[in-house]
């Protein structure tokens, strides 16, 4: 995306979808930005052994 396009995005009110860490959305909300927080965690809570098994077993 060109720099001009990025700047034009920020000329209008920003709408944000935040995935994962809620701290980012809280910061934006405190500045009056509309944020939709997506409740997401890494597969198997980030446990690499279980995540590896899941990738082999498929879901």
């Amino acid at each position: 995306m060109s720099e001009t396009k990025i700047k034009s995005l920020l000329e209008k009110p920003v709408k944000v979808v935040n995935v994962g860490l809620e701290g980012f959305s809280r910061e934006l909300e405190q500045q009056g930005v509309r944020v939709v927080q997506v409740d997401w965690v890494p597969p198997a809570g980030g446990d690499p052994k279980l995540a590896d098994l899941l990738s082999k077993l498929g879901t």
Binding site: V41, G45, L57
Partner: protein, 416 residues
């Protein structure tokens, strides 16, 4: 993996094609010939007397007096401590029991037959609320009620059911869902429907107006009467789903007040256990969470089959009763359980969710991947023997059961 998906589809097909019918009420020794003198079946995975929680011990003591194996509770406790009783899970004998789940040879058990597969499952008759044996109650009042269930109501229900072709449960539960029941902590509608269905035959087969009147009043006055029928139904529906090679679906969830256990189709009858968790809920006046015993009972077979906490969207009234939040939160519980199940039950739908079928077929892979443990609606027992129910709440199945199961399941299909 394709073989797992195919095995799971077969498991789901068996689950959804079950045709459970309440066909009889008979003494437990007749239904379960392997059930012998001084043998006690309890809820949950295996547990010894030494590791039993307070209410489970209280129930063991009470049932030993009820069966005439001990003269009083103190003597019963001494016998139990000496290993005089054989203790086994209900699940190992085609049975289930709520909370402490005591099943012994002379008690009446309800018989649910799965007519698609020909198997049968058993559960005792619900005693009502408050100070009852399933919550660890064991005084004279509790034992007298058990004797009446054994000597009067059980035989009367058996005769009434045998006079007809039994009570088909699938449609009855479908109606209950549309009337606000989720079949674990709310059974108001299904209990009423059962009373309506059984009353004519109870009246036609009764030889005592006094007994008939008491039987009708007991069923009609017990909002949870249907719970034990729903449990036997769940066991009858889920048992044919066991032992399918390569299936990662859960076939049973159960707790004994100390451990929570699950079984998975592809790993047979092996239990995967972890310490039970404490329900979060609301307490009856005079009680607090300091009085509460951790999670207990075979009643999670209701969630295993897609009802209870999984069908919370059908029963917004229960969300308030169990302290799960506002009525509008109920739908979220059902939708969330949809993330850990592989299908929906087209015959058990929830009108308020645009006739969404209840989430069915818990896949351990989805539970571990999402970190979403099954939601369970439950009663809460006092932690001391002899007191009874003190509240109701919501609890999650421990994730450790599912991670252990996943590792064993992976090994069973040659994945490491």
């Amino acid at each position: 993996m394709k073989q797992i998906d195919e095995a799971n589809q077969e498991a789901l097909r068996r689950m959804l094609s079950g045709d459970p019918v309440l066909v009889d009420v008979v003494p437990a020794a007749q239904a379960i010939p392997a059930l012998k003198d001084r043998m006690i079946l309890h809820a949950g995975p295996p547990v010894t007397w030494e590791r039993m929680c307070g209410p489970m011990r209280g129930a063991v003591m009470g049932i030993a007096v009820f069966e005439g194996w001990a003269n009083d509770l103190e003597a019963a406790a001494a016998l139990a401590s000496d290993g005089a009783f054989e203790l086994h899970p209900n699940h190992h004998f085609d049975a289930v029991g709520p909370m402490t789940g005591m099943t012994t040879l002379s008690q009446s058990v309800m018989v649910v037959e799965n007519r698609t597969f020909g198997n049968r499952a058993y559960c005792t008759i619900n005693e009502g609320l408050g100070k009852v044996m399933r919550f660890g109650g064991n005084d004279e009042e509790v034992l007298e009620r058990l004797a009446w269930l054994r000597d009067v109501l059980g035989p009367a229900m058996g005769e009434a059911l045998r006079a007809g072709d039994g009570l088909p449960l699938k449609n009855l539960i479908a109606r209950g869902l549309s009337m606000g029941d989720e079949m674990h902590q709310r059974n108001v509608a299904c209990s009423g429907l059962t009373l309506r269905e059984l009353s004519p035959a109870l009246a036609a087969t009764s030889s005592s107006t006094e007994d008939l009147s008491k039987a009708l009043a007991f069923i009609g006055g017990n909002d949870q009467f249907f719970l034990n029928i729903a449990m036997a139904m769940g066991k009858a529906v889920m048992d044919p789903v066991r032992d399918i090679d390569g299936s990662s679906l859960v076939t049973a969830m159960s707790r004994n007040g100390t451990d929570f256990g699950i079984r998975v189709s592809g790993t047979g009858d092996q239990w995967f256990t972890a310490p039970v968790e404490m329900p979060e809920g609301l307490y009856f006046p005079g009680f607090t969470e300091d009085d509460a015993n951790p999670d207990m009972g075979d009643s999670t077979i209701v969630e295993t089959v897609g009802l209870g906490g999984f069908a919370m969207g059908a029963a917004p009234a229960v969300a308030g009763f169990v302290g799960a939040g506002a009525a509008s939160d109920a739908a979220n519980y059902t939708r969330t359980m949809g993330e850990i199940t592989i299908g929906e039950n087209p015959e058990w739908t929830i009108p308020a969710l645009d006739y969404l079928g209840v989430p069915s077929g818990i896949d351990i892979r989805l539970v571990v991947e999402t970190g979403l443990a099954p939601t369970i609606n439950t009663g809460i027992a006092h932690k001391e023997p002899g007191v009874g129910q003190v509240g109701a709440g919501v609890v999650r199945a421990p994730m450790a059961c599912f991670t252990q199961a996943l590792e064993a399941f992976a090994e069973s299909v040659g994945v490491s």
